[in-house]
Symmetry: C2
């Protein structure tokens, strides 16, 4: 239960409205926990005993249906609140969160939630915004999956990932954590095979550059055009 230094979190929106003393007090109630790559922070269906703030790393949040089909709901990056099931009156986590890389999170007991939001109203506001923007994202995904072709959806997904967790490298922007074709398929509602084909094609055109669980966007601009449906698609069709 390492003590957490205020400087790690002071400039997160969640802590913005609070005095240093208040920040310290909030942090005193939290535990800092390390999650090695591929370990679960919590499991779908488990009792929602805690809520979290990711300090470092990246998590993959996935959901499995009763029939066993899995989808990647989203990725969590450092600074984000997550596992706030309790705030929405859920007693159990609706999804599983797995560390995509070695990660560190602050954990508060869910039972403190009620008390904390009364004492620190900015916490409620933060949660509302977190959940709100997550809702926006999810609705955007519904529209994408219903209305767009696979290529566009994959392009959108990559651009979103790059925005959220992109790291500049010499040939473009690399997604800053290991992500498999399977993961992308589960984000876009398609299959591993189709994603692989799409990325191969893009690689030939110099749009992206890939590898085992690695993706680098080389031409975000053209990808964006693709995502919006401005069919630069023709070129490839002819070249085949």
């Amino acid at each position: 239960m390492a003590a957490v230094d205020r400087s790690l979190v002071a400039n997160l929106p969640m802590f913005a409205g609070l005095s240093p003393a208040e920040q310290d007090e909030l942090l005193r109630e939290a535990r800092s926990i390390r999650y090695p790559k591929d370990t679960a922070v919590f499991d779908q269906g488990a009792e929602a005993a805690r809520f979290f703030l990711l300090l470092h790393g990246h998590l993959r949040v996935e959901k499995t249906t009763s029939q066993g089909q899995q989808s990647v709901v989203r990725y969590v990056s450092a600074g984000e609140l997550f596992g706030v099931a309790q705030a929405m009156n859920l007693t159990h986590y609706p999804a599983t969160a797995v560390a995509a890389v070695d990660s560190i999170a602050l954990a508060w007991p869910s039972s403190s939630w009620q008390r904390l939001i009364v004492k620190y109203p900015s916490l409620a506001a933060s949660a509302l915004q977190t959940v709100g923007s997550r809702l926006q994202d999810t609705q955007a995904r519904v529209m994408e999956i219903s209305n767009e072709q696979v290529e566009q959806r994959v392009a959108h997904a990559l651009l979103r990932l790059a925005k959220q967790a992109g790291r500049k490298v010499d040939t473009g922007v690399e997604i800053d954590f290991p992500i498999s074709r399977q993961d992308i398929a589960e984000m876009t509602g398609t299959t591993l095979h189709t994603v692989s084909r799409v990325l191969s094609a893009w690689e030939n055109e110099g749009l992206v550059e890939g590898g085992r669980q690695r993706i680098i966007l080389r031409d975000a601009h053209r990808l964006h055009a693709l995502a919006e449906g401005e069919e630069a698609i023709q070129s490839r069709k002819r070249s085949s």
Copy 2:
């Protein structure tokens, strides 16, 4: 600006934690507005000037992409909070809300939101829960659209509608507002044509009973089986 009687709203969860005097005060700040069928309560992209509580009727919430594709995001029933864009820090409404039948809503100015949640914390909790359960629903929809066949998705959609706005009639449960095949298509990420075919087939099997903008579920149990993928599908295939 009709005065609103407390009795209309007193047993909604949103008002549950408040004293009658507080309820009255909250209501004093609201206007009650009538929306005839097919009129918009607010439009996607418009400035989020107010937030609402639906007192009576049903609204269809729809979203249009920049490319002009439309989806039905959800239906709002009486008692629900909606248009709380401001609470999630959006300055503009992300979707359009249209009265599916003649409806009545309470409207508060968005500018009051901050003040009101400080004064009535249960309002924030309510909003958080509203948004939270909406997020759950939307995520469930993503999983359905990605993993299920059209038939299952339509079955799920009908069952959800019936649960939310079902009215018992002698032959089964009728959805309590006009809803077209097109609307269902836009909820399930498919086309008018496919929905029509599915419903026709089901009608022949006695599962549902339809009409112009009307749907009655005659056999919710078998529909549920269908939705869960327990293929009673075979029977129809053979009989064709």
